[in-house]
Subunit: 341 residues, 3 copies
């Protein structure tokens, strides 16, 4: 694709050689003359001056003399768009691998792909254009929508439901039992775990994550939400739409997360918490059981507090040694103080 | 099952229509006229007034006019008991799937089930009534007791031992090497990891958890203990009986956990810690290496302290801004202070 | 192997019966007369007095009357060395299991082993002496060096590269997509994830860990580094050589970790952090995005600070109640104070 074509596609301002052929995407450091890359921020733009890339996406108003550039409002976003045009999606080779174990009552769309040694149980449904990786397990009656990608080794328990255009990475488990026990008669008695997991359209889930089925209700992952590796979502949790949940975060049972919520890595959310739309939870923060986080708030710490408050207390905390000294000085007997004057 | 039969079973007090037929269990919101559900707590009882459930378990002394109810001491526990009677356990279909790879020296009980594409190595033993899911790996000489359920994709390393009535969810790994290194000659030297994992009877382990084999001793999970998803248990750890360990908690090597201990999510326990019986460790707490947590204590924070102490310090911490102001006022030069009076 | 032979091998000082035959390694408590064990530290040496081991490695200058001992500088390290001599490595049985699904374009070294139901895609390379466990997935073009062990159920995505003598435990995923999104047009837009994971020689990775491929650059795990269970390494991260990263730690995208860095369990490292050589990060510490940790520093807490500082503040924090009392006393009205005198 010629640079001038990319510039038109991105509605950007081209400087330099528009006739160059671009065939790929690369990072600043490892790019070559046929690669498109991007640069944002002062430090990165400085490094970009030495890049070998055939074309660099830069912010409007920036220039990189000697380079072919396209100036756009948001270079990183523009690269995403250019990549969609430049890099063809690997087409799914339709068909069921001869070593896959597929029940005769499963309904697999004609142009879906089922990889080697996958296990597809009775009455499973797999939609058009979906790719089921090697060694994936789909339990009895599980429903997978169209244009999904399930990477090798994903497990979907019986009866769980996955929407369209969902991507699930290796080792992730959808639908294991929720963790609910009542202690009685000297032992832990298991509460019934009968609900489903409903994963809505356009969700992506990383590798080795775990999403538990609901107990008596369902666990729901809302449309467009992105979940990172090793995240745990407990039973009955309802995650809203277009959220971003970073690696190793855990959400305990029956919590409700709104739309457009952003959670850093290793966040812990207690039971029956409500996090309203557009809230941001900083990495490693802990939201105690039953807490409500109001719309748009940014929280940090354990127990989590609004960020401004956290920062203020933290500043005073690091200044504690000085405070202690001051109080010591004030506590000196009057006589001594007098003498010093 | 008729409501009056359920009432008798639970030794509860029936109000309303005892002749109704109940066929299932459901949540308050999604229940229908053939469902049993339960309600506890003021808010839930209020919501229960609008529920469509055929019968509702309520606490003694509560009433829900217009509904058929059974009053019991502990509604949630009563639901567990009713569910055991109402919902028949899916019977294990005995037999070895033709695609499973089972060594001729493995001893599989006649009425056990081995799923598609499971791999059962030499001299493995599988007890009566046990169900081995699709794609499970059982290494050479592993022993699995009777009436266990290993969900698809569980890995049990060679020589590990699982008791009776143990449930292990997908992706969990039993018996990987412990993490023990000594730095010498410019590199990390691996300490031998030769011990076993012993999982006692009635244990349940969630999905994608990891339990390491002992180094020179064994790692032991005591009878009736319940372990949630993504939990890490290090080498030589001894977990007692009837404990509850929530998701993403990690216990480092050689720690000892007593009986009836409850650990919240994302707790971190250092090396060689001792947690005595009935202690409770709050979510995200960190117990430093070598620490002893006394019987029955509740701990929170990192480093963890008794809850009352934690709360007191925390209250004063959030009040720091006021303290700082007070000290500032006290520090003002006398003259200025005098003038203001 | 005779005790006197072991003593010579370890260059240690033998006391007692050098002619004893030793055949194995065991812990203090479970050792027998044919076992070698070790003891370090006062408490352990006291317990060692009752051990049944045939020979005990002890620190120079210690004695255990009535026992056969070898005194060495570093008993634990000496045990590692003795184990290497005493315990023969299980030889890899070369050959491809008939149930493995191996592409005809894959190059598997003649003396490598491929386990039951492993899936080896097109153009994969597997080096000499490498053992690929049951059910392992190696995506198209993945390269595995020589003398590696991949335990059952490991997934390596297409194109990833593993060096020589690398050990990867069950359930670990190498090469899943990094977690990179830009929010635009009301939804999360995925940034291209095109880079590789490069795992260098002599690395060991625990079970159910996840290492993401780079976005436009590569993710690199340096030579000799050891990574524990359930660890998450984000895209573009560069981990140096001979590091030790304990369980459940997460490193976010584009961070750089030097050589000989030690990280405790459940540590969280933000984006674009730089941790210099030989730094030590305490368990559960959190390093905020963009932070630089200087060479050799020990850090703790969230946000992490140098350990000495953390400890000082922490001591004053636990002493806050006293400080509050003092300030209250100082704040009492003069009159009242006067009266009391």
């Amino acid at each position: 694709m010629k640079v001038e074509v990319i510039a038109r596609l991105l509605e950007g301002k081209l400087k330099g050689d528009g006739k160059r052929e671009i065939t790929g995407i690369a990072g600043l450091e490892n790019s070559g003359e046929k690669d498109l890359t991007f640069a944002e921020g002062v430090a990165t733009l400085r490094r970009a001056a030495r890049a070998a890339a055939g074309c660099i996406l830069v912010p409007e108003g920036s220039s990189l003399p000697g380079h072919t550039t396209i100036a756009v409002k948001h270079p990183k976003l523009a690269l995403i768009r250019a990549a969609a045009a430049l890099l063809p999606k690997t087409p799914v080779k339709p068909g069921i691998h001869p070593t896959a174990v597929v029940s005769s009552s499963a309904r697999v769309a004609g142009d879906a792909a089922v990889g080697a040694l996958a296990v597809i149980e009775d009455e499973v449904e797999i939609g058009v254009g979906t790719s089921i990786g090697a060694g994936v397990f789909l339990g009895r009656g599980a429903v997978i929508g169209s244009d999904c990608v399930l990477y090798p080794g994903v497990s979907v328990y019986a009866g769980m439901r996955i929407g369209n255009r969902v991507v699930i990475h290796s080792g992730t488990v959808i639908g294991s039992d929720g963790f609910g026990y009542v202690f009685a008669d000297g032992r832990q008695q298991k509460f019934p775990q009968l609900g489903q997991v409903i994963v809505e359209d356009d969700v992506e889930i990383g590798s080795n994550a775990t999403i538990d089925r609901g107990a008596l209700e369902n666990t729901v992952i809302g449309q467009g939400t992105k979940i990172d590796n090793l995240v745990q979502i407990g039973h009955n949790v309802r995650v809203g739409r277009h959220c971003v949940i970073a690696a190793q975060t855990g959400v305990a049972g029956s919590s409700e997360i709104g739309d457009y919520v952003v959670m850093g890595g290793q966040v812990g959310v207690g039971n029956a918490v409500r996090i309203e739309d557009q809230a941001i939870i900083g990495a490693q923060a802990g939201i105690p059981t039953g807490k409500i986080v109001r719309r748009g708030l940014t929280m940090w710490g354990t127990p989590a507090r609004p960020l401004a408050e956290f920062k203020k207390t933290y500043a005073e905390l690091t200044n504690l040694p000085n405070l202690v000294k001051k109080v010591k000085a004030l506590s000196r007997p009057k006589a001594a103080t007098a003498k010093r004057r």
